[in-house]
């Protein structure tokens, strides 16, 4: 299943804003910005995020895929989801 990258970015940004910033649109973050370093997501948030990936995109990170390189920014999430959906091995 392929998802349009622009749509995916928009959906993920909306999820992060609604779930972790509680709709605070004052907070500006770029697609490459780290969620951890910018205080957007904490450890509970990562669990919420992975549950969302599973529910919405049917993408389940394995233990060794639970890495910032896969989950810690909009860019990383987009790449990770697309790799998983295409059946390629994620980093």
């Amino acid at each position: 299943m392929a998802i349009d990258q622009t749509v995916l970015r928009k959906e993920l940004r909306q999820f992060v804003t609604d779930s972790f910033l509680i709709g605070d649109d004052q907070v500006v973050f770029a697609d490459a910005d780290s969620f951890m370093k910018n205080g957007i997501i904490d450890s509970t948030g990562v669990l919420e995020l992975t549950a969302h990936l599973e529910e919405k995109y049917n993408v389940t990170p394995t233990d060794d895929e639970m890495l910032p390189a896969n989950l810690d920014s909009i860019d990383n999430l987009v790449n990770f989801i697309q790799r998983k959906l295409s059946g390629a091995t994620a980093s």
């Binding site: 004052q26 951890m36 370093k37 997501i41 904490d42 990562v46 669990l47 233990d63 639970m66």
Partner: protein, 539 residues
């Protein structure tokens, strides 16, 4: 001796050794000492007087360490703040302790306007960058503008370089630098509270220094040790890692990414740490959801575990994987600054489930309700005395009178002492569930549940019940890919426990609600939110 004397002594003894590593940044003891001197000098010129409280809202970082020591050097009282709290709770703590100075990391800038609105006592805000306080009368001063060149951290003794073994010189508790007394209040640590600001535990310099030295002794820490710090410094266990390693000249390796366990394991290997300290949930996650068990961790000498009882089953799993490392099971309380007992690793196999013996400098007794010692093998309350016992709770005279009697700390933990003098906790005085006239230990049921191979985490609480007085509620996280039902769990409990101990309510959740420290938020588990609805009974 005061807390910052630990840093001054170590900076003189080992000036070029790395005190703190955080990702690609490092600072030596000499640089840490001089930078904290410079910041302390700046603080002395602010509208604050010795004894005033300084809130610190920084995650673990070189800056946190520097600020903590600078505040103490300036005679202020450090109030480390839980960074996971919301603006409302933080504002209540700052108001409760009447903080005059506030150190706030830019990362938490979103919380500032709301929390500062209620904290009228704050006169100055210092941040790591330019931030808006949301108040026209309050400007945030950037740390860099105060520290200047000293904020450029020097590098020396990179990890992996062999250091000659050096013995720690005996520290004289009476030797204190500058003005003030070791008996002065040094820090207020707020404990997890389900409502309001919680309780502020007042710890003196003497409380923290004496306990740090005792801990260095039983862990046999040397300047060649380095610990991976995943526990926040605002949590007393994290603070203990900070002070013990500054005291012994060891290295603190900070990594705030425990949400990604593989990253933490990589850091342990890359930085060649000799120690790892965690709470039970850290070990459960590492053992259950990571490649921990397959890692060699060649340089690791020891693990320490505190922050609540770890189930014997989990301890045995840790032993089965890393039995060749030293595993220190420890017990403590914020009110005891914090270490009270340790279980010598060589006795662990025969004493799994015990919290061990008193740490050097601490005395333990097991008392009945009339404050008399109970005989060996009988249950009583753990009572602690020694230089580590807190000064009291901030502005809580009623609580102080209840907990501190005859200068001894009544911990509220129920335990038995065996013939060898080892202590075995059987539950909390206030966490004994009274169900149908029976006294039931939540801990005993939790241990039984955790021995079930389907269960990853379990927490048991008592909830009001019209018939039983209190009903037993078990909140359970099952392992990935596993399924279970209320009936299965209850049948399992029936096989291993007396009937009256079988939980009436079984609630399946994907994770237990926890404080940032890793401890389970038990008050929340008692609320309606966690009542077992019919549709949640099977997962």
């Amino acid at each position: 001796m005061k807390i910052h004397d630990l840093l001054i002594h170590t900076a003189q003894a080992f000036p070029d050794r790395v005190a703190v590593s955080h990702e690609d940044r490092r600072i030596t003891f000499a640089s840490l000492n001089s930078a904290s001197d410079r910041l302390a000098e700046h603080l002395r010129h602010l509208p604050v007087t010795p004894g005033d409280r300084a809130g610190i809202l920084f995650e673990n970082s070189i800056e946190y360490v520097l600020i903590f020591f600078a505040a103490l050097k300036a005679g202020l009282v450090a109030v480390p703040l839980d960074t996971s709290l919301g603006a409302d709770s933080l504002g209540k703590i700052l108001a409760d302790c009447d903080a005059r100075l506030f150190f706030a990391q830019m990362k938490f800038r979103r919380k500032l306007p709301e929390l500062l609105k209620e904290s009228h006592s704050i006169r100055t805000v210092i941040s790591d960058r330019h931030v808006s306080t949301g108040r026209d009368d309050l400007r945030a001063v950037p740390l860099d503008s105060i520290l200047g060149d000293s904020s450029r951290y020097s590098e020396s003794h990179l990890p992996g370089e062999e250091l000659p073994p050096v013995r720690i010189s005996p520290l004289d508790l009476s030797d204190a630098s500058g003005s003030g007394s070791p008996h002065d209040l040094a820090a207020v640590f707020y404990t997890s509270g389900s409502t309001g600001a919680g309780k502020g535990v007042m710890l003196s310099h003497r409380n923290l220094v004496s306990n740090s030295i005792g801990t260095v002794q039983y862990l046999r820490l040397t300047p060649n040790d380095s610990v991976l710090v995943i526990l926040p410094f605002y949590y007393i266990y994290g603070n203990s890692l900070l002070l013990t390693h500054v005291a012994c000249g060891g290295r603190l390796v900070i990594d705030n990414r425990f949400l990604y366990p593989e990253v933490i394991l990589d850091t342990m290997e890359q930085e060649k740490v000799t120690g790892f300290s965690g709470v039970p949930s850290n070990f459960l996650i590492l053992l259950g959801n990571s490649t921990f068990a397959t890692r060699k961790l060649e340089h690791l000498r020891y693990f320490t575990q505190a922050g609540g009882a770890m189930a014997p089953e989990t301890i045995r799993r840790l032993i089965s994987v890393f039995g060749h490392k030293q595993i220190f099971i420890m017990y403590g309380q914020t009110e005891a600054a914090p270490r009270v007992t340790w279980l010598p690793p060589e006795r662990l196999n025969e004493k799994v489930g015990s919290i061990g013996i008193a740490v050097p400098g601490v005395t333990i007794e097991v008392f009945d309700d009339d404050d008399h010692s109970v005989p060996v093998g009988e249950t009583g309350e753990i009572v602690v005395s020694g230089p580590n016992v807190m000064m009291g709770y901030w502005n809580q005279p009623t609580e102080n009178a209840e907990v501190l009697r005859n200068g001894k700390l009544h911990t509220g933990d129920l335990a038995k002492q065996d013939a060898d003098g080892y202590i075995w906790v059987v539950g909390r005085k206030k966490e004994i569930i009274k169900s149908g006239g029976n006294r039931v230990s939540a801990k005993e049921i939790e241990e039984c549940l955790l021995a079930n191979e389907l269960i990853l985490e379990a927490c048991v609480v008592g909830v009001p019940d019209n018939i039983l007085g209190e009903a037993i509620r078990a909140v359970i996280v099952v392992k990935n890919g596993m399924g279970s039902s209320t009936k299965e769990i209850q049948s399992y409990c029936k096989k291993h426990l007396a009937d009256f101990k079988v939980p009436k309510q079984i609630v399946f959740v994907s994770e237990l609600p926890k404080y940032q420290s890793g401890k389970v938020n038990k008050p929340l588990l008692k609320t309606e939110e966690f009542r077992a609805p019919a549709h949640k009974q099977t997962l």
